[in-house]
Symmetry: C2
Subunit: 192 residues, 2 copies
Protein backbone atom coordinates (compact mmCIF):
# COMPACT_ATOMS: atom_id res chain seq x y z
CA UNK A 1 0.00 0.00 0.00
CA UNK A 2 2.96 2.32 -0.50
CA UNK A 3 2.11 5.40 -2.50
CA UNK A 4 3.22 5.64 -6.09
CA UNK A 5 4.70 8.86 -7.51
CA UNK A 6 1.45 9.48 -9.39
CA UNK A 7 -0.40 9.25 -6.11
CA UNK A 8 1.94 11.62 -4.37
CA UNK A 9 1.45 14.08 -7.16
CA UNK A 10 -2.31 13.74 -6.87
CA UNK A 11 -2.10 14.31 -3.17
CA UNK A 12 -0.02 17.40 -3.71
CA UNK A 13 -2.31 18.72 -6.43
CA UNK A 14 -5.24 18.33 -4.08
CA UNK A 15 -3.60 20.18 -1.23
CA UNK A 16 -2.44 22.89 -3.60
CA UNK A 17 -5.96 23.31 -4.94
CA UNK A 18 -7.34 23.54 -1.42
CA UNK A 19 -4.74 26.13 -0.47
CA UNK A 20 -5.47 28.14 -3.60
CA UNK A 21 -9.18 28.19 -2.90
CA UNK A 22 -8.67 28.95 0.77
CA UNK A 23 -6.26 31.76 0.02
CA UNK A 24 -9.01 33.80 -1.51
CA UNK A 25 -12.31 33.01 0.12
CA UNK A 26 -11.32 31.23 3.31
CA UNK A 27 -12.94 28.18 4.83
CA UNK A 28 -16.28 28.48 3.08
CA UNK A 29 -14.68 28.85 -0.33
CA UNK A 30 -12.99 25.48 0.01
CA UNK A 31 -15.76 23.42 -1.50
CA UNK A 32 -15.01 19.81 -2.06
CA UNK A 33 -16.38 19.72 -5.60
CA UNK A 34 -14.25 22.70 -6.52
CA UNK A 35 -11.16 21.25 -4.91
CA UNK A 36 -11.67 18.06 -6.90
CA UNK A 37 -12.15 19.95 -10.15
CA UNK A 38 -9.22 22.22 -9.52
CA UNK A 39 -6.99 19.31 -8.71
CA UNK A 40 -8.20 17.44 -11.78
CA UNK A 41 -9.49 14.53 -9.79
CA UNK A 42 -12.86 12.91 -9.21
CA UNK A 43 -14.78 13.68 -6.05
CA UNK A 44 -14.54 10.08 -4.92
CA UNK A 45 -10.78 10.18 -5.34
CA UNK A 46 -10.52 13.32 -3.29
CA UNK A 47 -12.34 11.51 -0.51
CA UNK A 48 -10.08 8.52 -0.84
CA UNK A 49 -7.11 10.77 -0.14
CA UNK A 50 -8.72 12.96 2.51
CA UNK A 51 -11.73 11.55 4.32
CA UNK A 52 -13.19 14.98 5.06
CA UNK A 53 -12.78 18.67 4.44
CA UNK A 54 -11.30 19.05 7.89
CA UNK A 55 -8.74 16.32 7.26
CA UNK A 56 -7.81 18.09 4.06
CA UNK A 57 -7.35 21.50 5.63
CA UNK A 58 -5.47 20.21 8.65
CA UNK A 59 -3.19 18.36 6.26
CA UNK A 60 -2.68 21.62 4.43
CA UNK A 61 -1.69 23.24 7.71
CA UNK A 62 0.70 20.41 8.44
CA UNK A 63 2.20 20.91 5.02
CA UNK A 64 2.69 24.64 5.64
CA UNK A 65 4.35 23.90 8.97
CA UNK A 66 6.55 21.37 7.26
CA UNK A 67 7.87 24.13 5.03
CA UNK A 68 8.26 26.55 7.92
CA UNK A 69 10.15 23.92 9.87
CA UNK A 70 12.41 23.14 6.95
CA UNK A 71 13.30 26.79 6.60
CA UNK A 72 14.12 27.33 10.25
CA UNK A 73 15.99 24.07 10.42
CA UNK A 74 18.68 25.09 8.03
CA UNK A 75 20.53 27.46 10.30
CA UNK A 76 20.79 28.12 14.01
CA UNK A 77 18.32 30.60 15.42
CA UNK A 78 19.91 33.88 16.35
CA UNK A 79 19.02 35.59 19.62
CA UNK A 80 20.63 35.81 23.03
CA UNK A 81 17.81 34.55 25.16
CA UNK A 82 15.28 31.77 24.73
CA UNK A 83 12.60 34.44 24.83
CA UNK A 84 14.14 36.29 21.91
CA UNK A 85 14.62 33.12 19.89
CA UNK A 86 11.09 31.87 20.43
CA UNK A 87 9.67 35.24 19.52
CA UNK A 88 11.74 35.25 16.37
CA UNK A 89 10.37 31.90 15.28
CA UNK A 90 6.76 32.35 16.32
CA UNK A 91 6.69 36.00 15.34
CA UNK A 92 8.11 35.21 11.94
CA UNK A 93 5.67 32.41 11.32
CA UNK A 94 2.80 34.56 12.57
CA UNK A 95 3.70 37.34 10.17
CA UNK A 96 3.86 35.02 7.23
CA UNK A 97 0.52 33.47 8.16
CA UNK A 98 -1.00 36.91 8.47
CA UNK A 99 0.01 37.70 4.92
CA UNK A 100 -2.66 35.27 3.79
CA UNK A 101 -5.49 35.94 6.20
CA UNK A 102 -8.08 33.86 4.39
CA UNK A 103 -5.83 30.87 4.09
CA UNK A 104 -4.91 31.07 7.73
CA UNK A 105 -8.52 31.45 8.73
CA UNK A 106 -9.42 28.33 6.82
CA UNK A 107 -6.65 26.19 8.23
CA UNK A 108 -6.90 27.40 11.80
CA UNK A 109 -10.64 26.98 11.93
CA UNK A 110 -10.36 23.48 10.55
CA UNK A 111 -7.70 22.66 13.12
CA UNK A 112 -9.81 23.87 15.99
CA UNK A 113 -12.95 22.24 14.70
CA UNK A 114 -11.31 18.89 14.17
CA UNK A 115 -12.67 15.99 16.17
CA UNK A 116 -11.11 12.74 17.31
CA UNK A 117 -11.12 11.26 13.81
CA UNK A 118 -8.46 13.75 12.75
CA UNK A 119 -6.07 12.79 15.52
CA UNK A 120 -3.23 11.76 13.25
CA UNK A 121 -3.14 14.98 11.28
CA UNK A 122 -3.60 17.09 14.40
CA UNK A 123 -0.71 15.40 16.07
CA UNK A 124 1.47 15.97 13.07
CA UNK A 125 0.79 19.68 13.32
CA UNK A 126 1.30 19.60 17.06
CA UNK A 127 4.58 17.77 16.91
CA UNK A 128 6.01 20.06 14.26
CA UNK A 129 5.03 23.08 16.29
CA UNK A 130 6.45 21.55 19.44
CA UNK A 131 9.69 20.77 17.71
CA UNK A 132 10.05 24.28 16.35
CA UNK A 133 9.48 25.83 19.76
CA UNK A 134 11.79 23.38 21.49
CA UNK A 135 14.51 24.15 18.99
CA UNK A 136 14.06 27.86 19.49
CA UNK A 137 14.33 27.48 23.24
CA UNK A 138 17.45 25.38 22.97
CA UNK A 139 18.90 27.62 20.29
CA UNK A 140 20.73 24.74 18.65
CA UNK A 141 19.74 22.46 15.80
CA UNK A 142 20.10 19.35 17.96
CA UNK A 143 17.24 18.22 20.09
CA UNK A 144 18.11 17.27 23.61
CA UNK A 145 15.17 15.66 25.39
CA UNK A 146 12.94 18.19 27.08
CA UNK A 147 12.13 17.77 30.74
CA UNK A 148 8.52 17.23 31.68
CA UNK A 149 8.27 20.82 32.87
CA UNK A 150 9.77 22.08 29.64
CA UNK A 151 7.33 19.99 27.67
CA UNK A 152 4.47 21.51 29.63
CA UNK A 153 5.78 24.99 28.97
CA UNK A 154 6.07 24.29 25.29
CA UNK A 155 2.52 23.01 25.23
CA UNK A 156 1.33 26.20 26.90
CA UNK A 157 3.16 28.38 24.41
CA UNK A 158 1.71 26.41 21.53
CA UNK A 159 -1.76 26.74 23.02
CA UNK A 160 -1.45 30.47 23.41
CA UNK A 161 -0.19 30.84 19.89
CA UNK A 162 -3.00 28.80 18.41
CA UNK A 163 -5.67 30.56 20.45
CA UNK A 164 -4.28 33.90 19.45
CA UNK A 165 -4.45 32.94 15.82
CA UNK A 166 -8.07 31.93 16.32
CA UNK A 167 -9.04 35.25 17.79
CA UNK A 168 -7.07 37.03 15.11
CA UNK A 169 -8.73 34.95 12.41
CA UNK A 170 -12.20 35.78 13.60
CA UNK A 171 -11.49 39.46 14.02
CA UNK A 172 -11.55 39.54 17.78
CA UNK A 173 -8.01 40.85 18.00
CA UNK A 174 -5.44 42.48 15.77
CA UNK A 175 -1.89 41.61 14.91
CA UNK A 176 -0.55 43.72 17.75
CA UNK A 177 -2.57 41.88 20.34
CA UNK A 178 -1.46 38.54 19.00
CA UNK A 179 2.14 39.65 19.32
CA UNK A 180 1.49 40.94 22.82
CA UNK A 181 -0.16 37.74 24.05
CA UNK A 182 2.64 35.60 22.80
CA UNK A 183 5.23 37.93 24.18
CA UNK A 184 3.69 37.96 27.61
CA UNK A 185 3.35 34.21 27.65
CA UNK A 186 6.84 33.53 26.46
CA UNK A 187 8.47 36.13 28.64
CA UNK A 188 6.80 34.95 31.81
CA UNK A 189 7.07 31.27 31.07
CA UNK A 190 10.73 31.43 30.10
CA UNK A 191 12.10 33.99 32.44
CA UNK A 192 15.71 34.49 31.56
Amino acid sequence: MSTSPAQQQRRRRIIDAAVRLAADGGYDAVQMRDVADDAGVALGTLYRYFPSKVHLLVSALASQFEQAEAITERRAIVGDTAHERVMKILGGTTVSLQKQPQLTEAMVRAFMFADASVLGEIEEVGSRLTRMIARAIAGTPDHGEATEEEAAIIRVIADVWMSSLVSWANGRSGAAEVEKSIDVAVRLLLRD
Copy 2:
Protein backbone atom coordinates in the same frame (compact mmCIF):
# COMPACT_ATOMS: atom_id res chain seq x y z
CA MET B 1 -37.84 45.61 19.61
CA SER B 2 -37.54 44.80 23.30
CA THR B 3 -38.17 41.14 24.01
CA SER B 4 -41.46 40.11 25.53
CA PRO B 5 -41.64 37.49 28.30
CA ALA B 6 -42.99 34.97 25.79
CA GLN B 7 -39.96 35.59 23.65
CA GLN B 8 -37.55 35.20 26.50
CA GLN B 9 -39.18 31.90 27.32
CA ARG B 10 -38.85 30.77 23.73
CA ARG B 11 -35.22 31.73 23.73
CA ARG B 12 -34.65 29.77 26.89
CA ARG B 13 -36.54 26.74 25.62
CA ILE B 14 -34.38 26.76 22.51
CA ILE B 15 -31.12 26.91 24.43
CA ASP B 16 -32.33 24.24 26.80
CA ALA B 17 -33.24 21.98 23.91
CA ALA B 18 -29.85 22.53 22.32
CA VAL B 19 -28.12 21.74 25.61
CA ARG B 20 -30.20 18.61 26.07
CA LEU B 21 -29.35 17.34 22.60
CA ALA B 22 -25.71 18.25 22.96
CA ALA B 23 -25.47 16.59 26.35
CA ASP B 24 -25.95 13.21 24.76
CA GLY B 25 -24.57 13.16 21.29
CA GLY B 26 -22.36 16.21 21.15
CA TYR B 27 -22.02 18.66 18.31
CA ASP B 28 -23.39 16.42 15.56
CA ALA B 29 -26.47 15.53 17.56
CA VAL B 30 -27.51 19.14 17.77
CA GLN B 31 -29.56 19.21 14.61
CA MET B 32 -31.48 22.35 13.94
CA ARG B 33 -34.71 20.57 13.02
CA ASP B 34 -34.53 18.58 16.25
CA VAL B 35 -33.75 21.63 18.33
CA ALA B 36 -36.77 23.37 16.86
CA ASP B 37 -39.03 20.38 17.51
CA ASP B 38 -37.70 19.89 21.01
CA ALA B 39 -38.20 23.53 21.82
CA GLY B 40 -41.69 23.47 20.37
CA VAL B 41 -40.89 26.13 17.83
CA ALA B 42 -40.81 26.34 14.06
CA LEU B 43 -37.53 26.09 12.24
CA GLY B 44 -37.87 29.63 10.92
CA THR B 45 -38.40 30.88 14.45
CA LEU B 46 -35.32 29.12 15.67
CA TYR B 47 -33.38 30.93 12.97
CA ARG B 48 -34.96 34.22 13.92
CA TYR B 49 -33.56 33.79 17.42
CA PHE B 50 -30.20 32.30 16.50
CA PRO B 51 -28.90 32.92 13.01
CA SER B 52 -26.84 29.74 12.93
CA LYS B 53 -26.01 26.57 14.80
CA VAL B 54 -22.76 28.12 15.94
CA HIS B 55 -24.51 31.21 17.28
CA LEU B 56 -26.82 28.92 19.17
CA LEU B 57 -24.11 26.81 20.74
CA VAL B 58 -21.92 29.76 21.62
CA SER B 59 -24.94 31.35 23.27
CA ALA B 60 -25.41 28.14 25.19
CA LEU B 61 -21.82 28.39 26.36
CA ALA B 62 -22.35 31.99 27.39
CA SER B 63 -25.39 30.90 29.32
CA GLN B 64 -23.42 28.20 31.15
CA PHE B 65 -20.72 30.70 32.00
CA GLU B 66 -23.36 33.07 33.24
CA GLN B 67 -24.44 30.44 35.75
CA ALA B 68 -20.87 29.62 36.72
CA GLU B 69 -20.15 33.29 37.23
CA ALA B 70 -23.25 33.77 39.33
CA ILE B 71 -22.23 30.91 41.60
CA THR B 72 -18.69 32.14 42.14
CA GLU B 73 -19.86 35.68 42.59
CA ARG B 74 -21.79 34.98 45.73
CA ARG B 75 -18.90 34.54 48.08
CA ALA B 76 -15.23 35.48 48.15
CA ILE B 77 -12.87 32.94 46.68
CA VAL B 78 -10.83 31.14 49.30
CA GLY B 79 -7.15 30.55 48.77
CA ASP B 80 -3.98 32.24 49.96
CA THR B 81 -2.36 33.00 46.64
CA ALA B 82 -3.70 34.17 43.31
CA HIS B 83 -2.45 30.90 41.85
CA GLU B 84 -4.50 28.87 44.31
CA ARG B 85 -7.60 30.97 43.75
CA VAL B 86 -7.41 30.84 39.97
CA MET B 87 -6.89 27.10 40.05
CA LYS B 88 -9.88 26.75 42.32
CA ILE B 89 -12.10 28.64 39.91
CA LEU B 90 -10.82 27.21 36.64
CA GLY B 91 -10.29 23.76 38.08
CA GLY B 92 -13.80 23.72 39.47
CA THR B 93 -15.33 24.87 36.24
CA THR B 94 -13.22 22.38 34.29
CA VAL B 95 -14.41 19.53 36.45
CA SER B 96 -18.01 20.46 36.04
CA LEU B 97 -17.58 20.77 32.28
CA GLN B 98 -15.93 17.38 32.17
CA LYS B 99 -18.93 15.84 33.81
CA GLN B 100 -20.80 16.43 30.57
CA PRO B 101 -18.20 15.63 27.96
CA GLN B 102 -20.53 15.67 25.00
CA LEU B 103 -22.05 18.98 25.93
CA THR B 104 -18.65 20.52 26.44
CA GLU B 105 -17.40 19.12 23.15
CA ALA B 106 -20.33 20.69 21.35
CA MET B 107 -19.95 24.11 22.91
CA VAL B 108 -16.19 24.30 22.75
CA ARG B 109 -16.06 23.22 19.14
CA ALA B 110 -18.67 25.77 18.20
CA PHE B 111 -16.75 28.45 20.05
CA MET B 112 -13.52 27.67 18.27
CA PHE B 113 -15.18 27.28 14.91
CA ALA B 114 -17.04 30.56 15.15
CA ASP B 115 -16.24 33.18 12.58
CA ALA B 116 -16.50 36.96 12.63
CA SER B 117 -20.30 36.95 12.43
CA VAL B 118 -20.46 35.52 15.95
CA LEU B 119 -18.37 38.26 17.47
CA GLY B 120 -21.01 39.44 19.91
CA GLU B 121 -21.61 36.05 21.44
CA ILE B 122 -17.91 35.25 21.49
CA GLU B 123 -17.15 38.43 23.32
CA GLU B 124 -19.81 37.72 25.87
CA VAL B 125 -18.13 34.42 26.65
CA GLY B 126 -14.73 36.07 26.68
CA SER B 127 -15.72 38.84 29.00
CA ARG B 128 -17.37 36.51 31.48
CA LEU B 129 -14.31 34.33 31.51
CA THR B 130 -12.04 37.33 31.88
CA ARG B 131 -14.10 38.65 34.75
CA MET B 132 -14.03 35.33 36.56
CA ILE B 133 -10.27 35.05 36.28
CA ALA B 134 -9.72 38.66 37.26
CA ARG B 135 -11.86 38.17 40.33
CA ALA B 136 -9.96 35.05 41.27
CA ILE B 137 -6.66 36.85 40.96
CA ALA B 138 -7.85 39.76 43.06
CA GLY B 139 -9.56 37.47 45.55
CA THR B 140 -12.25 39.99 46.29
CA PRO B 141 -15.71 40.51 44.83
CA ASP B 142 -14.94 44.03 43.71
CA HIS B 143 -13.26 44.62 40.43
CA GLY B 144 -10.43 47.13 40.44
CA GLU B 145 -9.29 47.93 36.94
CA ALA B 146 -6.63 45.55 35.71
CA THR B 147 -3.38 46.93 34.41
CA GLU B 148 -2.55 46.28 30.78
CA GLU B 149 -0.06 43.64 31.80
CA GLU B 150 -2.64 41.96 34.01
CA ALA B 151 -5.11 42.03 31.19
CA ALA B 152 -2.60 40.34 28.91
CA ILE B 153 -1.91 37.70 31.54
CA ILE B 154 -5.59 37.03 31.94
CA ARG B 155 -5.97 36.67 28.20
CA VAL B 156 -3.15 34.16 28.14
CA ILE B 157 -4.69 32.12 30.93
CA ALA B 158 -8.02 32.12 29.16
CA ASP B 159 -6.36 31.03 25.92
CA VAL B 160 -4.59 28.17 27.61
CA TRP B 161 -7.75 27.04 29.28
CA MET B 162 -9.74 27.09 26.08
CA SER B 163 -7.05 25.33 24.09
CA SER B 164 -6.77 22.68 26.75
CA LEU B 165 -10.48 22.10 26.60
CA VAL B 166 -10.22 21.72 22.85
CA SER B 167 -7.56 19.07 23.07
CA TRP B 168 -9.45 17.36 25.83
CA ALA B 169 -12.66 17.48 23.81
CA ASN B 170 -11.08 15.85 20.80
CA GLY B 171 -9.35 13.18 22.81
CA ARG B 172 -5.82 14.46 22.37
CA SER B 173 -5.31 14.82 26.10
CA GLY B 174 -6.85 13.64 29.35
CA ALA B 175 -8.17 15.46 32.38
CA ALA B 176 -4.80 15.26 34.09
CA GLU B 177 -3.01 16.98 31.24
CA VAL B 178 -5.59 19.73 31.14
CA GLU B 179 -5.02 20.33 34.83
CA LYS B 180 -1.28 20.27 34.34
CA SER B 181 -1.29 22.79 31.47
CA ILE B 182 -3.38 25.23 33.37
CA ASP B 183 -1.36 24.79 36.49
CA VAL B 184 1.91 25.42 34.70
CA ALA B 185 0.53 28.47 32.95
CA VAL B 186 -1.00 29.98 36.05
CA ARG B 187 1.93 29.22 38.31
CA LEU B 188 4.47 30.75 35.98
CA LEU B 189 2.35 33.68 34.91
CA LEU B 190 1.35 34.63 38.42
CA ARG B 191 4.41 33.84 40.44
CA ASP B 192 3.59 34.58 44.04
